[in-house]
């Protein structure tokens, strides 16, 4: 059965998996303990996030995942972004993923404001799974 598209409430968390740089500090500023705004560069249809209602933050951890951060849908909207539920159906690339959501720039937003929006999200995102989580897992396994 296909996933329905729902309205994401302002209070609900969106998770962003941080990954993809050549090194950890390509995506994370360790001086200030948060991701770069460059970690929120959108795909053509927006920045992919996971809606907390349908997926726990550790559910999609991969060996290449640096960290996972969270921000509420309402906070993203307060910065001027559109937040839409965009579930990925069975058989589609990267599917199925009922939690998939997109944070999108409003149409016609100047480049500097696009950058500002990403920087605001990066600045306010809460760390849910910190960099170095693999070490924690190893320690727990040994213990």
């Amino acid at each position: 059965m296909a996933f329905a598209v729902e309205e994401i409430p302002d209070a609900d968390d969106l998770y962003r998996s941080i990954s993809g740089g050549l090194s950890a500090d390509d995506r994370w500023s360790f001086e200030i303990g948060r991701p770069h705004s460059g970690a929120f560069v959108p795909d053509p249809d927006g920045v992919s996030m996971d809606w907390a209602r349908y997926r726990a933050p550790r559910a999609r951890l991969k060996s290449t995942t640096l960290a996972v951060v969270a921000i509420t849908a309402g906070r993203c909207r307060s910065f001027g972004a559109r937040v839409v539920h965009a579930p990925v159906q069975e058989g589609e690339p990267y599917g199925p993923n009922q939690a998939h959501a997109l944070v999108q720039n409003p149409a016609g937003l100047p480049r500097s404001d696009q950058k500002l929006l990403r920087a605001r999200i990066a600045e306010e995102a809460r760390i849910v799974v910190p960099p170095g989580w693999q070490d924690e897992t190893d320690t727990a396994r040994v213990a």
């Binding site: 050549l22 995506r27 500023s29 500097s112």
Partner: protein, 202 residues
Amino acid sequence: MSAPPAYLDQEASTRALLVSAPNTRKPPPQVPSFVVVPWAVVAGTVIEAPPERLRRTAPSGPFDQGIQQLGWVGDGRVSQTAEAKLSRLSQLQPNWDGEEAPAIASAAITAARRALYFVGALVRPQEEPRIVPLANGELQLDRHAPDRSLEVEHMGGTWAIVGIKRGATPEFFSAEVPSGDEAALVRYFDWFELRAERWPSR
């Protein structure tokens, strides 16, 4: 001949000083070919433009006061570390991040090298901006400290700039400059490095 950079027209007094007074600081660095811009003709001699910082001849403003505080000025060159990273980034193949990122655009590499060259005259080598490859094939240069951040992203022919000043309530600033206008871009790095109160206006 190329037109002189716009900022020279805004600094006629500085230009007059440059023409009439010897430079008492260190000589300008060897300027690589990508920034050799004939900018003035004095008595039939073409003078090539060094980075804006090195054209100053006497303490005259916030930049010079800041340099005095720093007690050091860079030589305007791109560090070997940065050159090595740019070289590595220029050779990345599509899907370098495992998530379908395109190769890094050559225009972004060139723009970053030019920007680092000009910014390099202000900062100590260890404070050179970090070069960050982005999933859209562009590059970001950034500087972070607990009290403020500067993130500068190359987008097509433009640098999109964001500054964050942290306090009880963080303040956010943004700007855009054409990717060839390093004189304008460097003013935003000044804002970060010198902890300037006012965000530069264009």
